[in-house]
Symmetry: C2
Subunit: 450 residues, 2 copies
């Protein structure tokens, strides 16, 4: 039984923290561990802590739970640092997007504006990540930094280049979409083998087997015979919807999870040129983002926090003790207890794991993890055309964004906007940039980008 | 005195062939050489041959001149194969461009449609190059293939990847624009030192010295004090015009030659969004291409050919015997007579000569050439943002074009069109593609792209 300390930075996300504690409770190897919840929002921290504590008691775990608003204290003696924090909050998304709408921008292929990785969101994320990393290297330099917060693509690249001594893995659960695809096809998730390489939010199914048999023929038959019926019932912007199938038809590899859904920026633009085209493809990114665009006063999180104040509710009844598919606690177990397993992770492409992606850029690949750390798998990469889009719509833009951030250059931010599929003129790009920078909450960003 | 055989494939271009013969006449080391003019157009071949013969006689050279319409015969015993041929001719450009105009495409950043490297032009060029290369490897495998014909970017990459045994250099005189810049600034071209790395038609001045002094301050002062006056007089779409200066302001490296002019596709799009914007930047790609769009019946070439029939005209009076700045004959001399000199060439990036460009892609770099061949110079590369645009607008598109060509895939051609800055919808892209393929002259292409 291992005895590690896990520090959760941004623990105020109740759903995330509870899911993590739940998985920890269900991992006997880690049952003696300490979890340190850290958040700047005292009220949320208290609520999450109480909830998790009750959960731990209900499940009779030996986990030690701590809470603090002091990050440095939380990092003391930490073996793992997990980070999910979102600095600007959903209102921050909204403020930028509304400016985007005003200037003619749409959801759909717009990765750095009409998406939750907009440059004015990422700016604060980069700053947070860097300050966490600096604290880790200072206080607990041997700890693993497991970063779940967005942007995974840009920040894994940024941190991977800059902090070479950091023990660091970027995680995103988007690849789990492969299980959705399997279930739609009626394939057993237990017997599934797959490879979904790429870069974060741009991962494609290149190998797909079930019960030792190639599953692509099953997919092809399903498309031919059953997809139309499925499309009638599937929701808008489904990761197995008409758009995903059309992309598979084009490229012979299947876009997984957020690769073509609003969660990954609804790549590419041509399915989203106007409402009519979106309707034809059963796409509706605006509805997908409704929880951000038109938030209800009583959302899931606030409901959960309410439960804190009602001791009659068993937390285990809301979160039944079944292990989630999130890999994070399993990764902690593999690293701690030397249990080798393969995970989908975001790491630097130094060893050319996805050919065609620059070596100093991040990739999302299967990776063996054990006590020694991770060893990314060398994949065969993606079809040429997909790699070309990857260079064009992911690498080029992220490079420009990072250059803008590192040099504090407003000119480079303008380049980023000029690369957006909805930018039709330099004037439009300039107006968007000025209007976003002019938002009262962006004092810090205005001072940075000169 | 060396005795080499130079085979000129596509010798019917009178201006090119004459310039080449002129430079040969002025290179004593090569005066015993044989030039074999080869063209499929007998009339033009005859005219060029007669003209060059008269030139040779007027200058009392010892050059041996031959002509043939049989390529294989011309390649027999060749030491150098020079290729400038354009298969579709200017009427081929026009036919495609007119379809482009119809579908809302404009000159300006459109590299594979509204440019002389349109996919329906390149298709025939690729075929020609491959058949020449196969003949070379068969008939004169030790010969150097010096390719001047467009597309240099796509074809150097394509041939460089596929024919590794071929002794091959791609050439483009676009970089000579640096001498235009120098002359505008009043700098002596004799004392100029410069580096203009990049990929073909996308090369940027990173080092600029005259008389052992940094010349960027001279450029900066000229911009501040004299550029406005120059802009009043310079022609439209000048490579030292307002657009070039604005790009220099953005990126701190100067776009050289065709990098931002219509000759290189008028990159990037945002200076060309409408006529008014173009006017503001003193850009007019349509006028630049007037010789193609509205050809006069009596152009420079036909005038020159007329001279053939008028023995009273001295050819040397039209083409005075002064060495041109074209590097081709000097390169032949360096390779033949082991005279080491540095040239601007297009070669594969295998040795990472321009960091950030994929290793299996071409680059345009300074290169030492002597009897052993060429040794490309490892440059410091381009600023991050410029490299990002290069990946986005040059690498990604060329990769898709080559994939389309190699696999005969119409789907991939559609991807290429979807990457064009003027494509606003998939329908528009499809219409353009279908209309171009439907042109009567494109039977061969229709059969290739399925």
């Amino acid at each position: 039984m291992a005895d590690v300390k896990i520090s959760i930075i941004g623990a105020g996300s109740a759903t995330f923290s509870l899911a993590l504690v739940k998985d920890l409770c269900l991992t006997p190897n880690l049952s003696g561990s300490t979890v340190s919840f850290m958040d700047v929002d005292e009220e949320r921290l208290e609520a999450v802590y109480t909830l998790c504590k009750r959960y731990a008691e209900e499940t009779k775990t030996k986990l030690k739970l701590e809470k603090t608003t002091d990050r440095k204290k939380s990092l003391q003696d930490a073996d793992f640092v997990i980070n999910t924090a979102l600095v600007v909050g959903y209102s921050g998304y909204r403020a930028g997007w509304n400016i985007g709408f005003k200037h003619g921008y749409r959801f759909g292929g717009s990765y750095h504006i009409m998406h939750d990785e907009g440059f004015w969101i990422n700016f604060y994320q980069f700053r947070l990540f860097e300050s966490i990393v600096n604290d880790i290297l200072d206080i607990c330099p041997d700890a693993w930094y497991l970063k779940l917060a967005n942007p995974v693509l840009a920040a894994t690249t940024y941190l991977g280049r800059k902090y070479r001594k950091l023990k660091f893995i970027g995680l995103c659960h988007g690849y789990l979409g492969v299980f959705h695809l399997a279930s739609v096809l009626g394939l057993s998730s237990e017997k599934l083998e797959f490879k979904v390489p790429g870069v974060n939010h741009f991962v494609w199914l290149t190998d797909f087997r079930c019960n030792d048999e190639d599953s692509f023929p099953v997919l092809n038959e399903w498309i031919e015979k059953k997809s139309q019926k499925f499309f009638e019932k599937c929701g808008f912007s489904s990761d197995v919807g008409p758009k995903a199938i059309d992309l598979y038809r084009r490229f012979s590899v299947f876009p997984i999870g957020d690769t073509c859904t609003p969660g990954g920026g609804s790549w590419p633009w041509w399915y989203h040129t106007d409402d009519e085209t979106e309707k034809k493809w059963k796409e509706d990114p605006k509805s997908w983002w409704k929880w951000v665009l038109e938030p209800s006063k009583e959302d899931a999180v606030s409901k959960l926090i309410k439960a804190v104040h009602d001791p009659s509710v068993k937390v285990t009844s809301i979160y039944p003790p079944q292990k989630s598919r999130e890999s994070i606690i399993n990764i902690v177990e593999s690293l701690t207890c030397d249990i080798p397993r393969v995970y989908q992770v975001n790491v630097m492409n130094t060893e050319n794991l996805v050919p065609g992606v620059p070596l100093d850029f991040e990739v999302e690949v299967p990776s063996l993890i054990n006590k020694k750390g991770f060893k990314g798998e060398k994949t065969k990469g993606l079809p040429k055309a997909v790699t070309s889009y990857l260079l064009r719509d992911r690498v080029a833009t992220v490079e420009v964004e990072l250059e803008a951030y590192e040099t504090g250059s407003k000119k480079r931010l303008l380049d980023l906007i000029l690369m957006d599929p909805w930018t039709r003129s330099e004037e439009q790009a300039k107006s968007l940039l000025e209007d976003i920078l002019a938002l009262p909450q962006h004092t810090e960003m205005r001072e940075h980008y000169l």
